[in-house]
C-alpha cells in the first residue's frame, strides 16, 4: 500500500473547495445532542430502579411521559413554524420527559403524563423561546403545576416491591395488607404530619423514632419506600451522579452543597430541637432531595454559570428545602426550592462573576 502511494505523482490541491471561515478551525467533537444523550444514559439507573421497584406501571408512566413530551415539542414546532426534526434531534424534550416521569408517582392515570408533558414543554420551555432560554426547569414547572392541580393523584404512592411480610415495619406506612398496588405513605409525609400536627417536642420525636431507625434507613437507601418513580433508590441515583460527573455534565458543587446544606441545617435543628425534625440522614434518604440535587438543580440552562454562583445557588436550594420541610405545609420542598433559586440565577450570574484577567486589585497596582 505504501509503495503504491509513493509511486503516485504528486497531487496538488486545486483549492476549488476551500472553506474560508473565522478561527478557530478546530472544535471539540461535542454537541448539544451528545450532551442530552449522555444525560439520558445517566437517567437510566434511577429509571430502571423505578421500574424494578414499582413494576410495569412505572415503565408505562415513563414511556408515556417521554412520548407526550416529544409530541408536545413537535406540535409546538409545527404551530410556531420551527423545524420539527432539528428541535427533536437535540434530545432535550426526551430528557425533560424522563425527568418529569421520574418526578411522578408510579400509579398515575395517563392524563397526568399528558398534561405534565404540555406543561413542561410548552409552559416550562417553549413560551420562553425554547431550549436555552427557559428560566425554570421545565420538568419541575410541570411537577409543581400537577401537584397544585391534582393534589390527591400526585401524593398517592404505591407500595414498592419488597414491602411485604419480609418488611416488618410495613404497617407503619400501609394501612391495609401490604401488597403491590396498595397505597402507602412516604416516610417524609409521616414525618411532616407528625412534626406539624404534634407541634414538635417530645411527642413528635416519639413519632419520628420508628420511621427513622437504623434498619429502616438501609431499606430507604436501597429504595424500599413509597415515593416518586425515580427518587427512591439511592445507589441508582449515585450511579447516575457518577455518570454525570465523569462526562462533565454537571457542576459537583450543586449536588454536594445542596445536600450538604440540608444535612447541616437539619442536623443543627435535630440536635437542638429533636422534636422539630428527624435526623439529617432521614432527610437525605427520603423524599426527592437526591433526585433534585443530582438531576434537577444541576440543569445547565437553569443553573448559574460560574463555580461560585453554583455554590450560592445550591446553598439557597438547601436552605429553602429545609425551611419548607420543617415548617412548611408540604412535606417536600425540593421542587419549590429549585424553582425559587432558578428565578435568581440571572442575578447570581451577575453577582458571582469572575475577576477578568488583567483587572488587578488596588494593592498590587500600588506595589508597582
Amino acid at each position: 500500500m505504501d509503495s503504491t502511494l509513493q509511486k503516485r505523482p504528486v497531487m496538488l490541491p486545486t483549492g476549488e473547495k476551500l472553506v474560508v471561515s473565522s478561527s478557530p478551525h478546530l472544535s471539540r467533537p461535542e454537541s448539544v445532542g451528545r450532551i442530552m444523550a449522555l444525560v439520558l444514559v445517566a437517567l437510566l439507573p434511577p429509571a430502571a430502579a423505578g421500574v424494578w421497584f414499582f413494576g410495569l406501571k412505572a415503565l408505562t408512566v415513563i414511556v408515556l411521559t417521554v412520548l407526550f413530551s416529544l409530541g408536545a415539542e413537535a406540535l409546538w414546532c409545527l404551530l410556531a413554524g420551527k423545524p420539527v426534526g432539528r428541535t427533536l434531534r437535540d434530545g432535550s424534550a426526551a430528557v425533560t420527559g424522563v425527568l418529569l416521569a421520574l418526578n411522578l408517582p408510579p400509579d398515575v392515570p395517563f392524563y397526568i403524563p399528558l398534561i405534565g408533558a404540555f406543561l413542561a414543554i410548552w409552559f416550562g420551555k417553549q413560551v420562553f423561546g425554547g431550549l436555552g432560554y427557559n428560566p425554570f426547569n421545565p420538568a419541575l414547572v410541570a411537577r409543581v403545576g400537577l401537584l397544585i392541580a391534582f393534589p390527591a393523584l400526585m401524593t398517592q404512592w404505591s407500595a414498592p416491591r419488597g414491602m411485604d411480610e419480609s418488611y416488618p415495619q410495613a404497617a407503619l406506612f400501609c394501612k391495609s395488607t401490604p401488597a403491590p398496588s396498595v397505597t402507602c405513605a412516604t416516610p417524609l409525609g409521616i414525618a411532616s404530619v407528625s412534626g406539624k400536627v404534634l407541634g414538635g417536642g417530645q411527642k413528635a420525636q416519639q413519632h419520628f423514632d420508628p420511621i427513622d431507625s437504623a434498619s429502616l434507613r438501609l431499606k430507604y437507601f436501597l429504595g424500599m419506600r413509597g415515593g416518586c418513580i425515580g427518587e427512591t433508590c439511592v445507589p441508582a441515583l449515585l450511579l447516575g451522579a457518577a455518570i454525570l460527573l465523569i462526562f462533565n455534565l454537571i457542576n459537583w458543587r450543586v449536588p454536594v452543597c445542596f445536600v450538604g446544606t440540608v444535612a447541616v441545617l437539619t442536623g443543627i435543628l435535630h440536635f437542638f430541637l429533636p422534636g422539630a425534625t428527624p435526623s439529617p440522614l432521614f432527610h437525605i434518604l427520603t423524599g426527592g432531595l437526591l433526585l433534585g440535587a443530582i438531576y434537577m438543580a444541576t440543569d445547565m440552562v437553569t443553573s448559574p454559570i460560574t463555580g461560585s454562583g453554583c455554590l450560592v445557588f445550591a446553598v439557597g436550594c438547601g436552605v429553602i428545602t429545609t425551611v419548607i420541610r420543617v415548617w412548611g405545609n408540604y412535606p417536600e420542598g425540593v421542587s419549590f426550592s429549585i424553582l425559587f433559586m432558578n428565578a435568581l440565577v440571572p442575578l447570581i450570574d451577575r453577582w458571582c462573576g469572575v475577576r477578568p484577567f488583567g483587572y488587578i486589585s488596588r494593592p498590587a497596582e500600588k506595589a508597582r
Binding site: 473547495k17 476551500l18 454537541s31 450532551i35 457542576n251 488583567g358 483587572y359
Partner: protein, 444 residues
Amino acid sequence: MMNKSSRSVLTFKGGIAPEGNGKDMSSAIPTRNAPLLERYRVLLQENAGKPPKPVVAKGDKVKKYQLIAAADGFVSANLHAPTSGEVVGIVRVPGPMGLMTEAIEIAADGEDSGDAPFAPLDWSKASPQELLARVADAGLVGMGGASFPTHVKLTIPPGKKVDTLILNGAECEPYLTADHRLLLENGEALLRGALTFGRILGVENISIGVEINKIDAIEYLSRIAADCGVRIVPLEVRYPQGSEKHLIRAIAGREVPSGGLPADAGCVVQNVGTAVALDNAVRLGIPLVERIVTVTGEVVRNPGNWRLRIGTPVIKAIELADGVLCEPGKLILGGPMMGFAQRSFEIPVAKNTSGILLLPPRVSMNYMPTECIRCGRCVQGCPMHLMPCLLATAIEGDRYDLAAQNHVMDCIECGSCAYVCPAHRPLVQHFRRAKAELRSRNRK
C-alpha cells in the same frame, strides 16, 4: 537537571487542552532546506503597522539580502530580497487577510548570490543602541504570529521599567512544530539571541518558556543554557500558553493590566524564532529573509518543517511535502486555533507564517450553531476569565453596551470558547464584531 525542570511546571488559569494536537506528524523530522525557486513574492503589508515603501523598481537587479522596501515610519519593518535576481514589479497577490495586497515579485537568477549587508557584531561588546539599530535594519518582526516590528517592542515607553525578558517557545497551537525544531536545531543561536535581547533591554532575568510536550527541547536547552544565565521554564501543555499575557502570568507570576502593554508588568516577550533571526543579524550581519515553516495536516502526504524564504508561494511549500492525499477542505496560515483560512494557494509565505495547514473536508465542515445551553464550558475555558456565553447573548441582542461592561474588549480572540462550545456557536465572530463596533463608536 531534569529535577530542576520538572520541579515546577508553570501555567495559567483557564484555557483548554486540545485533544490529539497533531504535532506528532511533523515534530520528529529535522528541518529541511527548500530548493531555490524561480519566483518569490514578498508581501509589503505584514502587520498592523504601516507597510514599508519599496526602494526597488521594475527591472532592477537585486542581490540576495538587499533592501527592497524600507520601513515607513516607526511602526514598520524593512524587507530584503530573499535571493538574487530581477524585480518583476509590484504585483497584486492574495493577502493573508483575504484582500488583494501588494507584493514585490523577484525572478531569481539562479545564482543566489549576495553579501551580508551589515558588519558582524559581537553581541557582548556592541552597545545596546547599536544592537537595537541592527534589529530595525534587519527587518526583524515578531515571528510568532502578529509580525509586530521587533524594534518597537524593544523600545520601552518612558516611565516604564522592564526587569524580565521572556522568550516564547510555548508553541501552544496544535499541529505546529516549527518552534520545536528551532529549539532543537538552533539552540545556541537562540541563547545568543536571548542574551542579545537582554543586552538591548538591560535585563538580566531571561527565561525561555517551553511547553512540556517538547521535553527533548527542554532537556537539550537546559543542558546548553546551564551557565549562561538563561532560565529554561517548562510550561504545562495548555492553550493559549503562548499568548503574551498568559506567558507572563505563568513565568513571571504577573498580570498585564487590562488595556496595558507587557511593559506595564515589567516584561518584554519575544518569539524564539525572532531571537534566532536576531543572532543571524548580529553575528552574521544578514537580515531576515527566511524562516522555518511547518507544512502539515492530515491531508498533506509527507508533513514536515522546511526553511522557506519569505515570498515562497504556499503551493510550492505543499509541493515540497509531496502534495496532498485528497482535496483539502481548508488552507490555514498559522495554527488551527488562531490562523487565517485562505482561499488561494498562491499566497506567499511571510515573516510570521509559522505553519501551512491543510485540514481535511470533514474537519472543515461548517457546524450549524444551535442555542446556548449555558453549559459554562466557555467560561471555564476563557483564559481572560470572561463569560463568553453571556457576552454572545448580549451581542446577538445588539447590546454592545452590556458587552463592553462585561469586558468584551479584553477578549484576545484565542478561540478557546468556540473550541469547547457544544452548540458550535460563532463566539469569536461575535466578539470581533462587538470589538469593531465599540471601537468605531469610541472614535465618534
